[in-house]
C-alpha cells in the first residue's frame, strides 16, 4: 500500500483533461462485467421487490376482460379502480419495493471498493482481488456515506424551503410563472450543489482507494482541496456524463409516450436500456474520476521537488488479497 505523500497543495496543478472521458469509457467497457452484474442484480432485486405487487395485480387482471383497458391502452380510471380494490395493498407493494431498493443500496455500497480498485488497476481484477477490495473498503464507505448524508441534510432543508417558497410565489406573486421559474432555477442549483457534493465524495473515494486511506476525514479534506482547485474541469466532466444520461432518459420517454399501448414489450426493453445506460453513466463517472486522479497524481509528481521524491501509487497494486 502506498501512503499519501506530501504535496505542494498551494500550487494548483494543471491536469491534462483531454481524453479523460474516453479513457473512462474505455475502462468501463473493458470492465463491463461490473456493469452487467450491477444491472442484473438491480433488475433481479426489483423483480423480487415487485413480485408481491405483480401477484396482486395478476389476481385481479389475469382473468378479467376489463384488464384490456390497461393492456391495449392505459385508461387512468381503470387503473385507479384497480388500485382501489382491497386485493391491491399498495402499502405492502411499496414497502417491498423500498426494501429491495435498500438492499441494492448496500450491495452497491459493498461493490464500490472493488469497482474503484478495478478502474484504478486498469485491468480485470481476479474475483478474489475484487471482493477483497470490496471488503477492505466497505466500512469506510459506510462512514463516508454517513458523512454524505450529513452534508445533504442542509440541501434537503434548502429544497424543502424552495418548494414552500415557490408554492407561495405561485399562489401570491403577481407574475404567474414566477413560482415556477424560482422552482426551476432553485432546483437546478440544488441539483448542481448535490452533484458538486457527490463529486467531492467521489474524489474522496478515489483517493481512499488510491492511498488506502483509513481516515475518512483525511480523505475528505484531501478531496475537498483537489475538487476545489480543479472544480471547473471536474464538474464539467461529471456534468457531461450526467447530461448524457438525462438526454437518453428524455429521448426514451419521448419515444415511449408515442408507442402504442399494446407494444409494451418494446417499451419495456427500451426502458431497461435506459436503466442500463444510467448504470453505465454512473460507472463512467467513477472511471473518469479515477483516470483524472491518476493524471493529477502524475502532474503532481512532475511539479514536486527532486529532493522530495513522490511515490505515485501503482495502478496495479494498490490493494491485493494479501495486503491491508
Amino acid at each position: 500500500m502506498q501512503k499519501e505523500t506530501e504535496t505542494n497543495w498551494e500550487q494548483p496543478m494543471k491536469v491534462e483533461s483531454n481524453g479523460v472521458l474516453s479513457e473512462g469509457a474505455r475502462r468501463v467497457w473493458r470492465y463491463q462485467r461490473i456493469l452487467w452484474w450491477m444491472f442484473a442484480v438491480n433488475a433481479l432485486l426489483a423483480l423480487f421487490g415487485v413480485r408481491p405487487g405483480a401477484e396482486q395485480f395478476g389476481s385481479v387482471l389475469n382473468y378479467s376482460q376489463h384488464a384490456e383497458r390497461l393492456s391495449n391502452s392505459f385508461d387512468v380510471f381503470a387503473f385507479l379502480e384497480l388500485i382501489a380494490k382491497p386485493e391491491i395493498q399498495l402499502g405492502s407493494v411499496n414497502g417491498g419495493a423500498v426494501c429491495f431498493a435498500v438492499v441494492f443500496f448496500f450491495f452497491s455500497l459493498f461493490l464500490t471498493g472493488g469497482i474503484l480498485e478495478g478502474y484504478r488497476a486498469g485491468r480485470k481484477l481476479r474475483t478474489a482481488e475484487f471482493f477483497h477490495a470490496c471488503g477492505v473498503f466497505f466500512w469506510r464507505w459506510v462512514r463516508l456515506t454517513l458523512s454524505l448524508v450529513v452534508c445533504l441534510i442542509p440541501i434537503m432543508f434548502l429544497a424543502s424551503m424552495l418548494f414552500g417558497w415557490s408554492a407561495d410565489l405561485s399562489e401570491n406573486a403577481a407574475p404567474e410563472t414566477l413560482g415556477f421559474w424560482v422552482l426551476l432555477v432553485g432546483a437546478l442549483l440544488i441539483v448542481g450543489l448535490s452533484m458538486a457534493i457527490r463529486l467531492w465524495f467521489d474524489m474522496a473515494q478515489v483517493h481512499t482507494v488510491a492511498y488506502n486511506e483509513q481516515a475518512i476525514r483525511s480523505s475528505l479534506r484531501h478531496a475537498l482541496r483537489t475538487t476545489r482547485q480543479n472544480f471547473a474541469s471536474l464538474f464539467w466532466m461529471y456534468f457531461r456524463i450526467s447530461f448524457v444520461s438525462w438526454l437518453i432518459l428524455a429521448i426514451a420517454l419521448c419515444v415511449w409516450s408515442r408507442m402504442p399501448g399494446r407494444m409494451f414489450g418494446w417499451s419495456a426493453l427500451m426502458l431497461e436500456v435506459v436503466v442500463l445506460a444510467w448504470f453505465a453513466a454512473r460507472l463512467w463517472q467513477r472511471a473518469s474520476e479515477t483516470v483524472w486522479c491518476e493524471r493529477w497524481e502524475v502532474a503532481q509528481a512532475t511539479q514536486l521537488s527532486p529532493a522530495r521524491p513522490t511515490a505515485v501509487p501503482s495502478p496495479s497494486a494498490s490493494v491485493s488479497p494479501t495486503a491491508g
Binding site: 382473468y63 376482460q65 384488464a67 379502480e81 419495493a97 464507505w141 445533504l152 410563472t177 419495456a268 436503466v275
Partner: protein, 662 residues
C-alpha cells in the same frame, strides 16, 4: 281565505303565465320543439317575462378596490305570490360565513381538522339599516337565526318581522344599506391581489317554497337557492377595472373622481355576480342558437391568453349541443371569467349569465380541465340557472344532472374514452371520471340527502356529482340513452324558471319513458344499496369424465358441460346481460333479472368456454367492480405484465437514486 290579488299583480301573473305557456309549448315551425318566434324572447331587455318575477333588486354599489370593501344600497321589491299573508322575511348574508365561528367554518374545521383559520379569509356583510317603505326603519327588528343547527354565532341568515303582514298579491319594498368587506377568496367569493369576485355579496331574500320560507344557513357543503326576478345594479369602481357581470351592461359613465359607474340589467335570473380586475384580457365571440345570437365574453388572465381559443371553442361546442339537445339558452350574453393564479377558489362556479373557469398557464391540451370546467359551468345555466332547483336540499339535481350532461357533451366532442384525458398514451373518459368519483363513496349517502346533512364534504362531492351522474348513466341502460335525453329535454322545457323537486324530475323521466322506475329510484336515488355483480364460476367439463380411454373420434365428439354462475354481491337488484363465449367462436347472450343471489347458466356443447362476462357493454357503471364482471379462460397476462414492468423500472430507478448515495 281566498287569495287577494291586486289588479296589477294579476295582470302580471297572467302575462307571465301566457309567456311561459307560449315559451314552453308552442312548437317551432322547423319541428325542433322550440317556440315559434322564439328569437324575440330574450331574457334581458325584453318586454316579456320568462319567469314568475318574484323579486326586483335595484342595487347601487361602490367598490373600494384598495380596501376590498363595498358600500351599497339595495332596494328590493318582493311580490307576495305565495297566496298567503307574510309578515316575516328571511335574508341570506352569505359573506358572514367567512368568520371563524360561523357554521360554514365550523364544518370546514370538522371535516378537516388541520384547517387553520387565517384572518385574510375574514369577510362580512353588515346591514347598516333596513327600512320597509311605508313601515319605517326596521333595523331594530332584525335578528339572526340559525334554522339548521341553532348556532348562535352564525350570522348568515337574518329575518325581519314587519309590523303588518303583506297580503297575497301585494308587494313590499325593502331598502337596505349594507357594507361588505371581502376576504381573500376562500370559497367562490373574495379577492386575490387585484382580482375581485363579487358573488353572494348582497342581502338576498329567501324563497317561499312548499308552503314555508326556505332560507338555509350557508354551509360548507351547500350552494344557493333564490327566486327569479330582475336585477338593476349600478357598480361604481376605479376606471382601470375591467368588469364582467350577470345581466348585460346598459350604461358606463366616467366620474370625475377617477371612478366609473357601470349599470347592469338582468331579467329572469335569480342571482347577480360580478368580477373586476384591471389585467383581464377580453375576448368576444358569437354563438348563433335557435333563439338567435348570444355574445360570449371571455375575461382571461394575460398569462392564459393562448388558452382563450380553448375556452371559446368549448363554449360554442357546448352551447350548440345544449341548444340542440335540451332547449334554447334565452339570454343574450354569457360571460366566462378566468380567475387568476392563487384565486382558483373562485373558479369552477356558476352564476346566471356568468361562469368562472379554472386553468393554469402550463395546462397541456390533453388534460381537458379547461373543457371540463367550462362545459360544466355552462351546463349550470340550464341545471340551476333556469331549472332552479334547491341546491341546499336537492344538490344532486343540479350537480348530478349537470355532470351527466357534461359526460354526454364532452364525449360527443372528444370521444368517449378520451373526453377527460388524452396525454402521452394515458387516456380517460369523463364517465370514467364520474364513476371513479362515485367509487369513493358508493354507499355513504343517498342522492336525495340535503347537502348540509352529508357525512362530510367528500361524500357530498362524490355523491352529488359522481354518483348522481353514474346513476343517470346506468339509467340509460334501463330506458335507453335517447329516451333519457328526451326526458331531460322535457324536464328542462317544463321546469325552466321554476323550482322543481327530485320527484318532479323522476316523474318526468317515468312519463317520457313510459316505465315505472320506482324499483330503480328506490335503490339508486333514495337508497344506498351497492350494485356489484360478478362471475363467480365459469368452467367446462367433459360429460364422459368417467371414461378412461377414448378414441380420436370420441375425442372429436366429446361433449362439455359448461356452467357459468353469476353472483349478485351487493344488495342492489338490477337486471343484467351475460355473455358467454366458447372456443369454437359461438356466443351465447343471456339475460338475468338479477333478483336471486346467484344464477347458473348451463350449456351442453362440444366446445369449451372461453369467457363469461356480466354486462359486456359496460352499460351499468353503478357496478362498483368491473374487474370481477368477467372470467377469461385461459387468462391474459398482458395487463399484469405491463403494470409489473413499469413498476420494476420504477423500483430500478429508485434503487439507482439510493445507490447514488454510495
Amino acid at each position: 281565505m281566498a287569495p287577494h290579488f291586486g289588479r296589477l299583480t294579476r295582470l302580471a301573473i297572467v302575462g307571465v303565465a301566457c309567456a311561459m305557456q307560449a315559451f314552453a309549448q308552442t312548437p317551432a315551425p322547423d319541428g325542433s320543439g322550440l317556440p315559434a318566434g322564439a328569437n324575440v324572447l330574450r331574457a334581458t331587455l325584453s318586454q316579456t317575462a320568462l319567469s314568475e318575477r318574484v323579486v326586483e333588486y335595484e342595487i347601487d354599489a361602490r367598490y373600494n378596490a384598495d380596501k376590498k370593501s363595498l358600500d351599497a344600497t339595495e332596494t328590493l321589491t318582493y311580490h307576495n305570490l305565495t297566496g298567503q299573508p307574510l309578515d316575516t322575511f328571511p335574508f341570506h348574508l352569505y359573506l358572514n360565513a367567512f368568520q371563524p365561528t360561523s357554521t360554514f367554518m365550523r364544518e370546514v374545521r370538522l371535516d378537516k381538522p388541520s384547517f387553520e383559520w387565517q384572518e385574510k379569509y375574514h369577510a362580512s356583510a353588515t346591514v347598516k339599516s333596513l327600512e320597509v317603505v311605508g313601515m319605517g326603519d326596521l333595523t331594530s327588528q332584525m335578528r339572526f337565526v340559525a334554522p339548521d343547527d341553532g348556532n348562535p354565532e352564525d350570522r348568515t341568515v337574518f329575518e325581519v318581522k314587519l309590523p303588518r303582514a303583506i297580503a297575497p298579491g301585494e308587494s313590499v319594498k325593502f331598502r337596505i344599506v349594507f357594507h361588505d368587506q371581502f376576504g381573500e377568496v376562500y370559497a367562490r367569493t373574495g379577492y386575490k391581489r387585484d382580482f375581485i369576485m363579487g358573488a353572494q355579496w348582497f342581502p338576498k331574500i329567501g324563497v317561499w317554497w312548499q308552503g314555508k320560507w326556505n332560507c338555509h344557513q350557508f354551509h360548507a357543503t351547500t350552494e344557493f337557492f333564490a327566486d327569479f326576478g330582475t336585477f338593476d345594479v349600478k357598480l361604481t369602481l376605479p376606471q382601470n377595472e375591467i368588469v364582467g357581470a350577470s345581466g348585460v351592461e346598459t350604461g358606463n359613465v366616467k366620474n370625475s373622481d377617477g371612478t366609473k359607474t357601470l349599470t347592469f340589467h338582468g331579467e329572469d335570473i335569480h342571482d347577480f355576480a360580478w368580477t373586476a380586475e384591471p389585467q383581464y384580457r377580453v375576448y368576444e365571440g358569437d354563438f348563433v342558437g335557435s333563439l338567435g345570437h348570444t355574445k360570449i365574453r371571455l375575461l382571461m388572465q394575460p398569462g392564459h391568453a393562448r388558452q382563450a381559443e380553448r375556452h371559446m371553442r368549448v363554449m360554442k361546442e357546448t352551447m350548440a349541443r345544449f341548444d340542440r339537445w335540451y332547449g334554447p339558452y334565452p339570454y343574450p350574453q354569457i360571460t366566462v371569467v378566468d380567475p387568476p393564479h392563487g384565486g382558483s377558489e373562485a373558479g369552477g362556479m356558476e352564476y346566471p349569465m356568468l361562469i368562472t373557469g379554472d386553468t393554469t398557464w402550463w395546462l397541456p391540451d390533453g388534460i381537458r380541465l379547461v373543457e371540463l370546467v367550462v362545459e360544466h359551468e355552462f351546463g349550470h345555466q340550464y341545471w340551476y340557472g333556469m331549472v332552479a332547483t334547491n341546491e341546499f336540499e336537492d344538490a344532486w339535481l343540479d350537480e348530478g344532472i349537470n355532470s351527466y350532461t357534461e359526460c354526454k357533451v364532452l364525449d360527443d366532442i372528444f370521444g368517449k374514452d378520451k373526453s377527460a384525458l388524452d396525454l402521452w398514451g394515458i387516456t380517460g373518459g369523463d364517465d370514467g371520471l364520474q364513476r371513479d368519483t362515485y367509487l369513493s363513496a358508493t354507499d355513504r349517502d343517498p342522492l336525495t340527502r340535503p347537502a348540509y346533512e352529508y357525512l362530510n364534504y367528500a361524500s357530498y362531492g362524490d355523491v352529488t356529482y359522481g354518483k348522481s351522474a353514474t346513476v343517470l348513466l346506468t339509467l340509460e341502460k334501463v330506458i335507453g340513452e335517447e329516451t333519457l335525453q328526451r326526458a331531460l329535454r322535457a324536464y328542462f322545457l317544463k321546469y325552466r324558471f321554476k323550482h322543481p323537486t327530485s320527484e318532479d324530475f323522476l316523474k318526468t323521466v317515468e312519463e317520457v319513458s313510459g316505465q315505472d322506475l320506482r324499483w330503480f329510484y328506490d335503490q339508486a336515488v333514495y337508497g344506498t344499496q351497492l350494485l356489484d355483480y360478478e362471475i363467480l364460476r365459469a368452467n367446462s367439463d367433459v360429460t364422459d369424465w368417467d371414461r378412461s380411454s377414448k378414441s380420436e373420434l370420441d375425442a372429436r365428439r366429446e361433449l362439455f358441460q359448461t356452467s357459468v354462475v353469476v353472483h349478485r354481491k351487493g344488495d342492489f337488484v338490477f337486471p343484467v346481460d351475460v355473455q358467454v363465449q366458447f372456443e369454437n367462436g359461438e356466443t351465447a347472450t343471456e339475460h338475468w333479472d338479477g333478483k336471486d343471489r346467484w344464477h347458473r347458466f348451463s350449456y351442453l356443447k362440444n366446445t369449451r368456454i372461453l369467457s363469461a362476462q356480466v354486462d359486456p357493454a359496460y352499460a351499468i357503471p353503478l357496478d362498483k367492480d368491473f374487474y370481477n364482471n368477467s372470467v377469461l379462460k385461459p387468462g391474459d397476462h398482458a395487463a399484469r405484465n405491463k403494470l409489473t414492468h413499469y413498476w420494476i423500472v420504477f423500483v430500478q430507478f429508485l434503487s439507482q437514486l439510493l445507490a447514488w448515495l454510495t
